[in-house]
Symmetry: D4
């Protein structure tokens, strides 16, 4: 007979409880039906006062929204493709720290926005500027100086195609930088592999990376980094 | 002249007959027209009393169903994307053994269901629980304990993205585990390669794997494993 | 502050103990120095009476052996590339079940042997025959008939290049089959991807697969399958 | 200045004229507008008495047909996805040789048909049978025996997923075999790479291969092989 | 604190100004909404008198056009998939140099056209001929001779599938050749990797390459090459 | 119990006997020890009067040769990397047909030679010329004309890097052409994928392909094609 | 003429100076001769008092060391494959923060050590434990509890093969986690792609990743994260 | 019968003669024996007064040199891995134009040198500077300004790992830029795919690319570009 008696008390341990961190759970909507997403959102908002779903295409919103009672605040961030559901009295408790977000081109805004909404929901302030790519470095300098002045603890840099921007930013500042490759482009390597590879092979040591289009993951990591300063 | 006289009697041998195993043939619907699927289903149900088609999208059902005479029982399992066609008097003969099925996330339910329907049609009992992923290990322990108690002979574990769950399950029980990677996710490796690779490189020796999204194949293998105990 | 108090008692639980299964731990020698391998072997043989290291090239044997006290029995299986270390009084306890192993070509013998030694160390009898590939199907039939007669509970089939053999075997018998792709060959797909892909896409449902060259993993899985019949 | 005077008379040489071979030119429709396809078809039918376009989806037929004057015979082979356009008095001149075509599953019929129409347009007789895959080898033997009896000069074997059939056929007959991988399936390697790899790594020496889904190319090669016997 | 004071005056430097080169900026439309494209076009046309967007599908044109005031000339090149927006009085200043463009098949015309419009907007004359592939080399010689006679400074060669044409052209003339792989085709390597690889591995030394389908990039490079002769 | 009684007489059928074709078996030496190769060679030469091993590196020859009794003729073709072992009285019986072999560069000679030795051992005459690549097309014309004059039934074309030569040859003659990609080169695609892809995507319909570096397989196929004319 | 006057004063700006961060430059030894490495080390140690080279194989040490004057302290960390060169009076100035390092198996120690030496040279304390993989989770808990108690600001987790450990650690603690995939293993995905993919697709949000085997990069990132707490 | 009469006079046409361009032929040494290389070098030096072989490892030099008569000047450029063989009286005729070469890191010097020797042999002056990577942009500005001042017609930029440098250079100057990816690095994408992808996906339009490590090809292209200005 198989044996697992030795784990009999594990259920009580509640090993992987995220709630203790004050972070609302997030639902990845890919591969889930509208119905399942609605049910998961409701369960979470009841428990936590807030709930969030990522990668939700605009055309699904109506179907999901009609399953949600009016007593909750239903927000849809179209660029970020995120649903945020809140109890009426829910308030985000902000930490006294901030992070920065930059994106290389206007095509990368969606992922930048996903990161921004994530960070803000987690309770961290954000300074951001989009479309500051290599072809317009002067547009990069201004927001970068502001971020340094505001003492952001980390910068998320979103970039597709050649994925150069995170390396450039990392070369200019003395801060942790999280690169987010995006799947914008065409041709060889254009589903994000090109920018992912560029970032992983960066000659600017200390750049860290999340998966292609994973603005949400970058936001969570940035929040955790910022949080270390105030524990 | 080419020579194949030496195989003249092979046709009579009927080498690859599945029927002797009591297993109904299954039709993979991908790349087949509604008409072809209907015809194959009918031929099989006439021969075996039962027939089954896999990977059938919901929008095709109407077109297929109208080709099927009313005298057969036509069932469509939407999550599993399977059609089961039976003669009215068809009864599955269950073996006195069972297997277990777990899936990591609610996005993996479809493939879990494909495995479940397959196993049940083959005549094996199933204990299953979906959405027991790493983020909620306490949800894993309960069904796992039940499976051990029910003396399942094998556990199918369905998981996409990082594909970690089969390794975890394998580490906890003294049973054969079949990993089924799924094509849920986005970014680098997200069409299932990531979870396939994780399972093939598992540090928990003894985990075996089927192709991405192949819940049907996992079901067949699990059935064969379970069957060895009652021969 | 980070919080992990809730797992304070986990260490005592000893969750992932393999010892209870009667299986000696195995050491994957890749990436480890001769010194580290020797130390790990010694620690295990002291605890379990037996120890084993896999993927050990012949030229390393002398260096490892000289670190091992004479009081242990040191065996090296050159084809299998495995070291087995035993206390003088160690005896394998065999289960009253057996499994079968077949390999397609004489180039695949090494991986077949790795599987065989693994299964035998775990306490299961093995019927095996190598070099029964497609070009000599008559060589396949004889061992296959013997395996069925001996009521093996599972067949491991090792094959490189086109990787066809496991599918053929699966088509002929009513038993679980574990395919092991090997990295023999040259050209496109010849590092084992070709045979891995063939097996994963097999039209013979129920074939399961382990990673390329992973004879050890196949052996562990076959053992677990066989074991279900005698629990 | 760049220099190319030395090629001044090349145009007159008409180096790459296919016409001398009696082969009508073929139009690959992928990436071409309906208008361009129509124009090319017309130009060819005027010159050669016959014209053909491959990979034409059914929904494009109406648009193309309306550009074609009624004085031509317009045929659309839906399974083969080919348009054949002929002058009313056009007659195919058949060579006194034939080739064979087999496909593994009913999903592979489309590519088999593409090969068949191609071979017939080129003036070669065809013996064919579809759906003779590994799971029903008895269905394979009958057509194979007929082909040998009819002294076909070459066999085209179409197969997706594990791509095993061409190797099996090659093992059974003393004839050139052309494998055509197809893009049917799902999971790792299922866009045809799996069957392409299997065929390229075949242990049955002498199997040759064309690109995935390239029934047309296989047909041309088979025709050329058959033609050598009657020159 | 992070430090970037040392770059305080970089913004004034306007490092990456393209305007000084007389080149209008180009907008890659992939991943941008109709609204964003319209806004960027308007900003550019106001600044430069001309603006251009690439990779714009025909079905988007209406939505974009309605955001553009009538006082600008709005042109859409359907084959090239480019929008060109001009002030009424805008005139291209042509350099007294020219370049050549060839494409292998009629399926490659779109990318050839993208290159042509780009080069012309940049102020360079173009001699071009499409559909001069290997199967009709006589069609190649005539335009090639004209290009040499017209003293083009560079030839862009667009080719999909086997991607052979750029190597052939390079073998025939004493001019820089820029290969542009296209994503036309089907099967293994048919998303442009095949033609990209062929060009990168060309045995005709001196061939240079841009990304798959990047007619725009080829046009820019050709312009820069041509421009060196008149500086 | 598993059931395979129905195949009880298959062994007697000797399904896959190659001997009937007059073809000596060939041994792929990759992954086999010197000892195993020697043993297999001896077994075959005893049975067939001739034996052959492919892909044998020069440094292994001495070790293998010393296992072979002097009564056999031992030949090693260094370029082809093949051992041919014959009984003293063995004579190849030549068919009254021939095939042609061409290679693109002097780096591809080895694979060309492997094909040549294979074809000759099988009993077919060969006309060959190596180093006739694109950069010296005038060197191509002469042997090509001779081959046509000698009425070869098929041409094997060996090419690495850009792999263009088979397509060129196919465009020039009305014969079956077998492309053999080679693993010569460096950079992206240079392990043979580049030339394999070029050949699979060839715009010259009717080109067939074998795996990278598989001169042996090409030789077998060419022999079978030639043989059809004399059956 | 090309124009770059506008950047005339950039050289004075010294944009990318790392020195201001107190971080010694590091030399990646791959692709560099012993001589070049020696020269670079000397230049750096003269400027900074300390210098370091990564990925230096043991067999190169003697050749490099003999180029280094005795007045410097030359240290070689064999596991980490790093050279550290110091002026005699050089002292690392430690920040009052620490980070943690864990590795999954004893094969991953080398990369763990590379990270450790890097972090310590940068002036950060390290708590580390190696060989805490999934098969021995009880070994994981103890060091993890110590790290939390010591208030490490970040944990580096090194893992090859299935790459599961970083996700597990991330699930247990409320800290930033940096995953480092390693190239240990064999078979499909075993050059590190498997563990890289697992980490990028992790279901534990907030995990960030560096390239395969890049212990150095992970160390730099961890240092920067830790540093934010004390600015 | 196959027909090629129509090409009977092609040999006289000498279509692909490189000699008319004044360019010595180059020998790629990969896959060729020392003997073959020597023979080819001698044949070329006799014809052209100069001969060159690329990718020649240092350990082969002695074997090749001893086949070369003393009457020729034998030069070996170790970094460039090139042999240049000249008649005693051979003089390079320099065009009155120049090109520039930059490399990102000291690991990329070898490929930079291959480009430099190539360009100089072809008769073009070179301004070059190596090791001007992103981490030391001030080192980039000085040589870049010199190149602009010297009116180079084109800049070759060699870079491995993240491959960012060509894009940066392209953004700074109004000249054609040829990117050469190198195979320096480790981890995902480090065999040059990463830098190749970055360059192909560059956001700086007009960058063109050659294959990984192909300094020779870049040199040929740069020469052809420069040459257009003086025709």
């Amino acid at each position: 007979m198989g044996k697992i008696e030795y784990i009999k008390d594990i259920a009580k341990l509640d090993i992987f409880r995220h709630k203790r961190t004050g972070i609302p759970e997030f639902i990845l909507s890919i591969g889930k039906s509208d119905e399942v997403i609605s049910k998961l959102l409701l369960r979470m908002v009841e428990n936590n006062g807030v709930a969030c779903a990522t990668k939700v295409n605009a055309e699904r919103i109506e179907f999901i929204r009609k399953n949600i009672p009016k007593k909750f605040i239903f927000e849809y961030y179209q660029n970020a493709r995120m649903i945020v559901l809140k109890k009426k009295n829910y308030k985000i408790k902000y930490l006294p720290v901030s992070i920065g977000i930059l994106s290389a081109g206007s095509s990368d805004i969606c992922i930048g926005e996903e990161a921004r909404i994530t960070v803000q929901l987690l309770g961290c302030q954000v300074f951001y500027d989009y479309d500051v790519g290599v072809a317009g470095m002067h547009r990069l300098i201004k927001p970068l100086k502001r971020m340094v002045k505001e003492r952001v603890k980390c910068i998320i840099v979103v970039a597709g195609m050649d994925g150069i921007l995170p390396t450039l930013v990392k070369s200019l500042v003395d801060l942790p930088v999280i690169g987010v490759p995006t799947s914008i482009g065409y041709g060889y390597g254009s589903k994000g592999e090109s920018s992912l590879m560029t970032m992983l092979n960066s000659c600017s040591p200390g750049l860290v990376v999340v998966n292609i289009d994973n603005g949400f993951g970058a936001g969570c990591a940035a929040y955790l980094i910022a949080k270390q300063s105030v524990k």
